[in-house]
């Protein structure tokens, strides 16, 4: 998937000879076209980026500054005040820890579960394989909300409400991730597995020391996909978590808006803190991120 993006990059930057020859007589027309294109892109750029800027303005200003006319367009000096207030309201560091811990732990376990299932579904023949794979595929069509209530009852019956386990468990087997990983495992050369087998390697060893290392890009993309799924997860944690100290970021943020007095400076600080780490993460790992988030679309 990441490879595809590289190809895209190359093919867009490359002009064919024919186009280069065509270019000269068309120069004027092209210039006009370029003006159009950049204007359009410029407008979209402002629309895409402005809310992020506004979020930052809000996080560094007093609550009332978000509703002035003329608008406050420069960062203020309320950063620390908003942060302190936010921490008093929802215990921001605890919430940040909860979200990171839950998402991190989820990625590790879900990746192990999904990758091993995807691997045997791609590379082995065994009874019931087709049935299992079809069941996974079909379940992707089922809205998550249809399982919500029995899951809640289950957690309640086992006294697991308000635990990290309850947040993570239901989505550990993630059929979409299995599907994506399977596509990648299918491309792994079976001959390599055969020759390792002849050398006396066990099946587990083949998987861990031969297959896994060559699947790093696919696993990275799947990890990002799983991480984002859990980091953004809202409805389920909202249902199973009920104390401030267990809240994940989305639940805590949402609870801020339910207070009788809403301090928008605090809220914007919360929104900023929930967004900036992911943006930083995205900007450093763009390619893996995009292929992870798009999933099979690029395959």
């Amino acid at each position: 998937m990441a490879k595809n993006l590289e190809v895209i990059e190359q093919s867009t930057n490359k002009l064919t000879l024919a186009e280069r020859q065509q270019k000269k007589p068309k120069k004027k027309k092209n210039k006009l076209k370029a003006v159009w294109m950049y204007t359009l892109l410029g407008i979209f750029l402002v629309v895409s980026i402005f809310p992020f800027y506004w979020m930052f303005i809000g996080a560094t200003n007093d609550s009332s500054k978000m509703f002035t006319n003329p608008p406050t367009l420069l960062p203020g000096d309320q950063f620390m005040t908003n942060l302190t207030n936010l921490n008093e309201s929802i215990g921001i560091f605890r919430v940040l820890f909860n979200s990171l811990f839950v998402s991190g732990l989820y990625v590790v376990i879900a990746l192990a579960v999904c990758a091993s299932a995807a691997y045997v579904l791609a590379k082995y023949n065994f009874k019931g394989k087709k049935f299992i794979f079809t069941a996974f595929l079909l379940s992707m069509m089922i809205p998550y909300q249809a399982t919500l209530i029995p899951l809640f009852q289950m957690m309640s019956d086992f006294n697991l409400l308000n635990t990290y386990f309850a947040v993570i468990a239901p989505q550990l087997c993630f059929p979409f991730a299995i599907f994506l990983l399977r596509q990648n495992f299918l491309a792994f050369p079976t001959e390599l597995m055969e020759s390792a087998r002849l050398d006396g390697a066990s099946e587990t060893r083949i998987f861990i020391s031969i297959v896994i290392p060559s699947m790093r890009p696919a696993l990275a993309a799947a990890s990002i996909f799983l991480f984002m799924t859990q980091w953004n997860n809202f409805m389920w944690p909202l249902v199973v978590l009920n104390t401030n100290d267990m809240y994940t970021f989305p639940v805590a943020l949402s609870s801020l808006m339910g207070l009788s007095y809403i301090d928008y400076g605090q809220v914007m600080m919360g929104v900023t803190l929930a967004t900036v780490p992911i943006i930083a993460f995205f900007l450093t790992l763009q390619k893996q991120f995009i292929s992870g988030m798009l999933g099979s679309a690029l395959k």
Binding site: V113, V120, P150, L151, C173, G270
Partner: protein, 283 residues
């Protein structure tokens, strides 16, 4: 069974067990639950009671209608915008492609709750969006307090978040269209517009279908945005099926009824997916 034969089962076992416990069981249980009601703390069989109630429930139909309106407006608008942007970004003359691509994709990495809250603040009566509009002579729009504009708010917010995401999908697909198709078409005298509708669109059909299905499932389950942006209001004008399931289940604790709504959604997702596959042909 020897070890090599046991291996695949061993490796698939965790996924299968988790799948049985947390997907298969809940799906069956919620189906059963949708035919039950609570009588004195116990769930007892109630026949079709939940479903007949659903059929006569105005809020359910309002939620259906809202979902439908949001879907019918938001998805095409977003797909057209994404298509236009992808085509512009695919242009050979353009510089800074990477920069534009990343910038347009950026909204898609924000958490659903965070962006919903951000928009709920920007769209307030005296918020930045109305202030900006006042400079071009548009009087304040009651974004969140008017039934029509509340829906518009949700549509605008969703379009902001998802357009870049879909654009990147389309852009990737555009790169895979063989260049000689266009060359042949221009030799035959087809102009850019004709080329777009007779080559680009048909070539992108599978990808548009994929984006369409994702958006269908997404819209039918819409929850985070109405919950955080409009709270379902005013007067249920942004009530969605997802929100109604949540309210019935966890505000009124009517698990049987909530399961019936959820099953209605399951059936609709199924039907719509089949229709979309049929329209697009089998590919």
């Amino acid at each position: 069974m020897n070890r090599a034969k046991r291996f695949p089962y061993l490796f698939a076992a965790p996924a299968i067990l988790l799948f049985l416990a947390f997907t298969v069981y809940p799906i069956i249980a919620s189906f059963v639950l949708s035919f039950q009601e609570r009588v004195g703390g116990e769930y007892v069989f109630a026949g079709l009671k939940n479903y007949t109630r659903l059929w006569n429930d105005d809020i359910f139909w309002t939620a259906m209608q809202n979902t439908f309106i949001i879907f019918v407006v938001q998805v095409p608008v977003m797909i057209i915008l994404a298509m236009v942007l992808a085509n512009v970004l695919n242009n050979q003359l353009l510089k800074l492609k990477g920069f534009f691509r990343v910038s347009f994709f950026l909204p898609a990495v924000t958490s659903l709750v965070a962006y919903s809250i951000l928009f709920s603040i920007m769209l307030q009566e005296e918020g930045i969006i109305n202030t900006a509009l006042s400079y071009i002579g548009i009087t304040a729009i009651p974004w969140l307090s008017d039934p029509f504009w509340a829906k518009a708010s949700i549509i605008i917010a969703m379009t902001w978040r998802w357009t870049g995401y879909n654009m990147v999908i389309f852009l990737a697909a555009l790169q895979n269209i063989p260049e000689d198709l266009y060359e042949a078409a221009s030799l035959d005298g087809a102009n850019k517009f004709k080329q777009f509708f007779y080559i680009t669109v048909p070539q992108l059909k599978p990808v548009i279908l994929f984006a369409g299905i994702l958006s269908t499932i997404g819209t039918l389950q819409l929850f985070d945005e109405p919950f955080n942006l409009t709270g379902g209001g005013p007067a249920d004008s942004t009530m969605t099926l997802g929100l109604y399931i949540y309210q019935s289940g966890f505000e009124y604790f009517d698990f049987g009824y909530a399961s019936a709504i959820a099953y209605a959604v399951v059936v609709m997702v199924g039907i719509l997916s089949i229709i979309q596959f049929k329209i697009a042909g089998d590919e």
